[in-house]
């Protein structure tokens, strides 16, 4: 529609709608980030606390009884089709589009097929289990 025939009020309503959408998007992204950080902190913190403060905190229950504690009320969806790329397609020693040479990975080889799972992609409750297939075998990479 040519600009000359558009009414002025229609254009500003259009703009208001975009502003509202952008604000909502910003709020949503912000809240997801905040929640994710606290989740990650909780899981990492629970493991980190264990070694430096184990003497001060209450003793863990003896490992005879299976008494799991609910930390997050709902299970995470399983990861089953995580993207996988060939090493040669990655730029060398590049933390943004590739991997750094000294980045830690979990490596596995099955029936001649090798795959690396970077630890930096497995930390946090949403990533600790990757269901995968390698060399014809169904596997779970866990951290």
């Amino acid at each position: 529609m040519p600009a000359a025939t558009r009414s002025v009020s229609g254009e500003s309503q259009h703009r208001k709608m975009w502003v509202v959408l952008l604000v909502l998007l910003g709020v949503w992204v912000g809240s997801v980030y905040a929640f994710r950080d606290s989740l990650v902190a909780f899981f990492q913190g629970s493991q980190r606390r264990s070694s430096s403060t184990v003497r001060q905190s209450a003793p863990l229950t003896p490992v005879t009884e299976f008494n799991p504690r609910v930390v997050i009320p709902k299970a995470f969806p399983p990861i089953s089709d995580a993207p996988v790329v060939a090493a040669e397609s990655l730029p060398r020693d590049d933390p943004d589009d590739g991997l750094l040479d000294n980045e830690l990975i979990l490596g596995v080889e099955i029936a001649g097929e090798a795959r690396a799972y970077p630890i930096n992609m497995l930390t946090g409750p949403s990533r600790e289990i990757i269901n995968d297939r390698l060399g014809g075998a169904a596997i779970a990479a866990t951290w």
């Binding site: 930390v71 980045e103 779970a140």
Partner: protein
């Protein structure tokens, strides 16, 4: 690293595992589809639900740095998800005493602390009756665990001039793959065992009576 194919009631079942949102003694509890049984990650065993008692078969894998891995496996693929952390400075390298390489088979359990492994490149050891070799590369914090038996014979190893050599035949072995590169046993391989890298105290809570290797 576990295999997802299990035997259930004489039938083969492939399960999919997810993070349950529960922790057991600070350790991950997994839940499976289709049965919704609960699994202990550190024990590799279903603790509750229709599959209770089932054990997952561990698959040998090891932690190393990217450069070491892609050099050894040039055709490797790699998982590519957005990073959830950016620990490029490698906490495991700065605080090795907090980590162990652990191995459990049946009721035999053994763990080798990373700070001890830093002091020596290899350890000839036993887990119960199983003769094992721990190989450690300190630059990449890579710990590998092998079965020391080859064709019915148990080998013992030394590290000499940067080379891994067995005492019985003086064959030279590649410490990253467990394959003999030269000597009488050239071409033979040591079986890689599924050691787990774990926080030391979390491992201890599940295996309180373990013997930890300590150099005399």
């Amino acid at each position: 690293m576990y295999a997802r194919d299990i035997d259930w009631d004489g039938k083969k079942l492939e399960i999919t595992l997810a993070v349950s949102g529960m922790l057991w003694n600070r350790s991950l509890v997994m839940v499976d589809a289709p049965t919704e049984s609960l699994w202990s990650h550190i024990l590799g065993k279903a603790m509750r639900g229709p599959l209770e008692g089932t054990r997952l078969k561990p698959i040998p894998s090891h932690m190393t740095d990217w450069k070491t891995w892609r050099t050894k496996h040039p055709n490797t693929t790699v998982l590519m998800l957005p990073r959830t952390s950016r620990q490029f400075s490698r906490r495991i390298y700065r605080n090795p005493e907090r980590f162990v390489l652990g191995f459990a088979r049946g009721s035999d359990v053994r763990a080798w602390p990373y700070d001890e492994l830093h002091r020596m490149p290899i350890v000839n050891d036993k887990v119960g009756e199983l003769p094992v070799l721990v190989v450690f590369a300190s630059e990449s914090s890579t710990a590998l665990l092998f079965d020391r038996r080859v064709e019915g014979r148990t080998l013992s190893f030394r590290f000499q001039d940067g080379e891994l050599i067995d005492e019985q035949t003086n064959s030279t072995w590649d410490p990253q793959t467990g394959r003999a590169a030269a000597g009488i046993l050239r071409g033979k391989s040591l079986e890689l065992l599924p050691g787990i890298v774990s926080f030391r105290d979390v491992w201890k809570h599940f295996h309180p009576n373990i013997e930890e290797y300590a150099k005399q």
